[in-house]
Symmetry: C2
Subunit: 339 residues, 2 copies
């Protein structure tokens, strides 16, 4: 008999929370019972799971008694506030915020990439930043094969990175602009409709944003390679829910586009969409609502000698693999290693 | 007494043609008389210039008698078809298409960058690709000071790159999508509303697009540096009329962000917008309808040693400096060297 588990979702009413419910259902996660947790304001709301109404409860320190796994997607400050209560209840915390990602005793996991790091956990496992996940799904297999020296990444990040409210703001602002009204920003610092914002998260002293540095530090931790050189520019674009990244990769070992395609074709979580003559390449509209990261525009970089460089363009659903799916996959891994 | 000139605009009814009229007017270009040329379909249409109606005429081989300067923005095939008629009329042709850009006897000019190349012309001067102009306005002064070895550029290109029809398609498609209808692409290969298309122009055998390779070859010609290494990824984004570029620059000589800012502050055509703490950086909405290219997010690249790398983000109006203004500036240069 397969064991079933009591699962809690903290931040159940957000965009990622809603997607977690969908993913748990679609993947037949062995849920014995489900606790949906959110702020007091959302308590009492009913959300469907497997055809049944589940009532949202207020997230409290005593919410975790008897809970096996808690999936957190309620922001970093709540993750920090509730960590001790969760762990002391014997609940495994899988956290989607950036609160603990760089902590030594918290594994930072992309199941397709570094499942072996899971065993180090002490009650908390972190889900990486969405752009890091989307990038490494395509980059990690290439790093293992050709050893990546340096990555230059320019992102094209969807409004969903700022949650359901971000997506709503893009839609309502676009409508306002088309109606000749002024776009009034609230979630984003500037208007996002028909615009680009080259700032995601706050700025650090080195001139990079936190988002850009997350991609650097998290990639090094996940790949176990502190020497990896990465420079990112993170840009918000008026796209609803899939992130894209223009990647320039420099390898230690030369690699042709065909060699790269061969490696990616055998890799988990990535789908090659790369037939330029048929106008096929990754696009965020196509990657939306998809489980896999799309990789294409794979070509030999003409600016580096000895076939040491590859350029490619990738797109992946920010809410699914960038957040909800990866979190649930971590939970599945935890269960499988338990058995 | 200052001489005035008979000026023709071929492609007068397009987005760039309309902007050329505006630029000629705003800059008090010494126009004695103006000929507006377009397809037979547009002939008879009236367009205002300096308060007076000018009737659009059909573009014909005998259109250039007595014309001093012809500004062409009617597509490469018409430029090729009419070149001989223009030049044999003693008319100076300034061409905005890609038809002659790489020809040895055709100077490719950005007035702020390589005005000295003008004198080589034999009746035809080419206006560079819009992304090349926008990039080099920021990059050329840095190249002169620190010698650029390698550029990795990811573009975020506006719908205006496909002309007035491109802008209209973005707007009408966005409205359709918001109304729950399907986006039907016509100008672009795929839907552009709330999407990205990582293809501009057609594909070449090396996997790059023509647009991407234009940025490579044109930059080398304009900077007079065949050794310059450039790799581009060109992406169409749902923005109306300003292009942006995430630039990763590798220098021969180390350069700090302050040194870069100092050089750009003294350069023509570029405006530094770089105060992250006040959320100020280049954005296409702000750069639209502006003459200058905005440069910001200037920071030391953390992935290269010895201060050899700089990352920056730039935005510039595609229709103005990317096309119409640069063409008119070339005409002004031609007149000034004549006097």
């Amino acid at each position: 008999m397969n064991r079933k588990y009591t699962v809690a979702i903290a931040g159940a009413t957000g965009a990622v929370g809603a997607e977690m419910l969908k993913v748990l259902e679609e993947r037949n996660f062995p849920v014995a019972s489900l606790k949906l947790l959110a702020s007091a304001r959302s308590a009492g709301k009913k959300i469907k799971f497997c055809g049944e109404d589940v009532t949202v409860e207020e997230l409290r320190h005593d919410s975790f008694n008897g809970v096996d796994i808690a999936l957190f997607s309620a922001g970093g400050s709540l993750s920090k506030e509730f960590r001790d209560s969760v762990v002391s209840s014997g609940t495994l915390m899988i956290d989607n915020s950036s609160a603990f990602r760089m902590d030594d005793d918290v594994p930072l996991i992309i199941p397709e990439v570094n499942a072996h790091d899971m065993k180090k956990h002490k009650g908390v496992i972190a889900n990486p930043n969405c752009s890091t996940i989307i990038m490494l799904i395509a980059v990690a297999p290439l790093h293992r094969k050709f050893e990546i020296r340096r990555i230059v990444a320019s992102t094209y990040q969807a409004a969903s990175g700022a949650g359901a409210k971000g997506m709503e703001e893009l839609i309502s602002q676009s409508r306002a602009v088309l109606d000749g009204e002024t776009a009034v920003p609230s979630v984003f610092v500037h208007p996002i409709a028909f615009n680009l914002i080259p700032q995601i998260d706050t700025f650090l002293d080195n001139g990079y944003t936190r988002e850009e540095m997350k991609m650097v530090y998290e990639s090094r931790k996940i790949l176990g390679c502190q020497e990896l050189m990465v420079s990112c520019t993170c840009v918000r674009v008026p796209v609803v829910r899939a992130h894209s990244i223009a990647l320039n990769l420099e390898f230690e070992t030369g690699a042709s586009p065909d060699m790269v395609r061969e490696v990616l074709a055998e890799s988990q979580g990535v789908e090659i969409v790369d037939d330029p003559s048929a106008h096929k390449y990754p696009m965020p509209l196509d990657a939306s609502d998809k489980v896999n990261i799309f990789a294409g525009r794979i070509r030999q970089d003409i600016s580096l000698p000895d076939s040491k460089g590859i350029d490619m363009f990738i797109s992946g659903d920010q809410v699914i693999k960038g957040a909800a799916l990866n979190t649930v996959q971590i939970a599945e891994l935890a269960l499988s290693s338990e058995q």
